[in-house]
């Protein structure tokens, strides 16, 4: 019962949704949307699970004075203040009826002044990592690596005015060899072909994976195939 019934749920839900996709008539027509909405709601319940877990871990760290415990206080503080600000809509110009992220509320202030700079800075680290990764990875070591390097290099150059300047001598029939044009061609032709092959492959992978799930063949997500 503990193992079989869940698998039955997966099987039935999966098949019903697939069939429903081809039946516009009620009650099937909106089933996909309804189930997607159910998922969103379950996900909000899960926040209680996740937030509770986060809270407990850091509280334990502080209580037991584990390594780096003072930083756990920072996490707990940020979490509690933000949660209170959002749930009770503290300082919201529209009161409890206002939009949770209304401009002027404490929630929005914290979002704009703490959340946003942190998020944007973390994202900006990518500019540096893209530099170090290309320095290390783009070496002409093997045939494959050389092809990777050449394609990357043409596109890199082609996206700068430098690339245009370098090859602006190629005019007339040879103009397709100008780096920006070559870049466009690589993006529109071989890149597109590769992307398509990957996409078709992924689609088949998803179909096969979904089928394995709704036939009950793949059950590891519920703790493996042993009973």
């Amino acid at each position: 019962m503990r193992r079989t019934f869940p698998i039955l749920i997966t099987v039935v839900v999966g098949w019903v949704l697939i069939v429903a996709d081809f039946i516009p008539h009620k009650p099937f027509g909106n089933l996909g949307d309804d189930f997607a909405l159910y998922f969103d709601i379950i996900a909000v319940f899960a926040f209680i699970l996740g937030g509770g877990n986060l809270f407990r871990i850091h509280l334990t760290k502080v209580q037991k004075k584990k390594k780096d415990w003072p930083f756990s206080i920072v996490t707990l503080g940020g979490f509690i203040v933000m949660l209170a600000a959002g749930l009770f809509k503290i300082g919201n110009p529209g009161g409890i009826q206002g939009d949770v992220a209304a401009v002027g509320s404490l929630f929005n202030d914290m979002y704009m002044q703490i959340f946003t700079p942190l998020q944007a800075s973390m994202f900006a680290l990518l500019a540096f990592f893209v530099g170090s990764a290309s320095y290390r990875a783009f070496r002409a070591k093997t045939t494959e690596a050389t092809i990777l390097l050449i394609a990357a290099f043409i596109v890199l150059l082609g996206r700068t005015p430098f690339g245009l300047w370098l090859t602006s001598g190629l005019t007339g029939d040879m103009s397709f060899l100008q780096l920006p044009n070559l870049t466009d061609w690589i993006m529109d032709v071989p890149n597109l072909a590769g992307q398509r092959a990957i996409m078709i492959g992924i689609a088949l992978g998803v179909i096969s994976m979904s089928l394995r799930l709704i036939l009950g063949v793949e059950r590891t997500y519920l703790g493996g195939d042993s009973d």
């Binding site: 390097l149 290099f153 992307q195």
Partner: protein, 300 residues
């Protein structure tokens, strides 16, 4: 990197495993210096951007354009310039603009367009008549599926909780099919791809997109059959700005966000190209001396 202290290494060998922090420093300088100087860079408009521009240019007065803000502050430096340029264009074309967000983070950014572009440069346009901010609704692709058939159930109020029926421009909006063009701005999930899958394809509605340069290559396969045009990254924004200047010469000397962004990008880009060349030159010198270590950072 390596702990090369063990044995004495040649200069070339040590440079091969250059501390990545040196690369980081070079990139930082390359970005900061052009910013301090301040400059703009024009970009030739490519066909895929021109297609987007022509589509908007071809919209008759009063057409309904849905703009979906599917991005957050992190990608805003890249995407906001193109949003601004397109909103400016829509305003010039006298289209009705409906702003919404499938991303929670897009909520705040709609205000930036309204305060940054529409209010100062188009003071005649009236909220609720010419443009409206519908705000964020949860539900990701599910939301798109729902509003394809039934708009008003999800959007019964605008972002300021005013009933939707109070606005003249919301009359006759019952489903996404009532829009002449939907433009989604954003590179992640849900984003342009979901708009195509859940609105464009099933509803036969023209979808346009503006996304990060990263997301762009994945969306190329959808152009032109499922996507009317696509702006990729700051370059896409600069190209759109260029098309806008050609069509509306009054913007010739106007400060354009996309074009100034391009300068720092280009310089830092060249720094990275330099490092790739440098790394390969070192590699070939070492290989000539027979001192390479295979497999490091290898490809698969």
């Amino acid at each position: 990197m390596t702990n090369g202290a063990m044995k004495k290494q040649s200069l070339v060998e040590r440079l091969q495993y250059i501390d990545r922090r040196i690369i980081f420093a070079f990139i930082a300088v390359a970005v900061i210096v052009p910013l301090l100087i301040g400059a703009q860079l024009k970009e030739k408009t490519t066909p895929i951007v021109q297609a987007m521009f022509d589509n908007v240019e071809g919209l008759p007065e009063g057409s309904r354009v849905l703009l979906s803000y599917d991005y957050g502050p992190t990608t805003a430096p890249e995407i906001q310039p193109m949003v601004d340029a397109m909103v400016r264009h829509c305003a010039e074309r006298k289209c009705k603009m409906y702003m919404m967000a499938v991303w929670a983070t897009g909520h705040n950014l709609t205000g930036e367009t309204i305060e940054g572009v529409l209010r100062p440069d188009f003071p005649d346009l009236e909220y609720g008549v010419d443009f409206i901010n519908l705000g964020y609704k949860a539900g990701n692709q599910g939301l798109i599926r729902l509003i394809l058939v039934d708009f008003k159930t999800m959007y019964s109020t605008d972002a300021n909780n005013i009933a939707i029926d109070d606005f003249p421009m919301m009359e006759n909006i019952t489903s996404l099919r009532n829009f002449d063009l939907i433009v989604s701005f954003g590179g992640g999930f849900p984003g342009i791809k979901e708009w195509i899958q859940f609105a464009g394809d099933p509803g036969n509605i023209p979808i346009g997109g503006g996304c990060t340069a990263v997301g762009a290559p994945n969306l190329y396969p959808y152009y032109p059959s499922q996507l009317v045009g696509l702006l990729g990254g700051a370059k896409g924004a600069a190209e759109y700005e260029n098309a806008l200047i050609i069509a509306y010469p009054k913007y010739e000397d106007y400060p354009m966000a996309g074009m100034s962004l391009m300068v720092s990008q280009t310089v830092a880009h060249i720094v990275i190209i330099f490092f790739i060349v440098f790394g390969n030159v070192l590699y070939f010198i070492l290989r000539a001396r027979g001192m390479t270590k295979e497999g490091l950072g290898g490809v698969r």
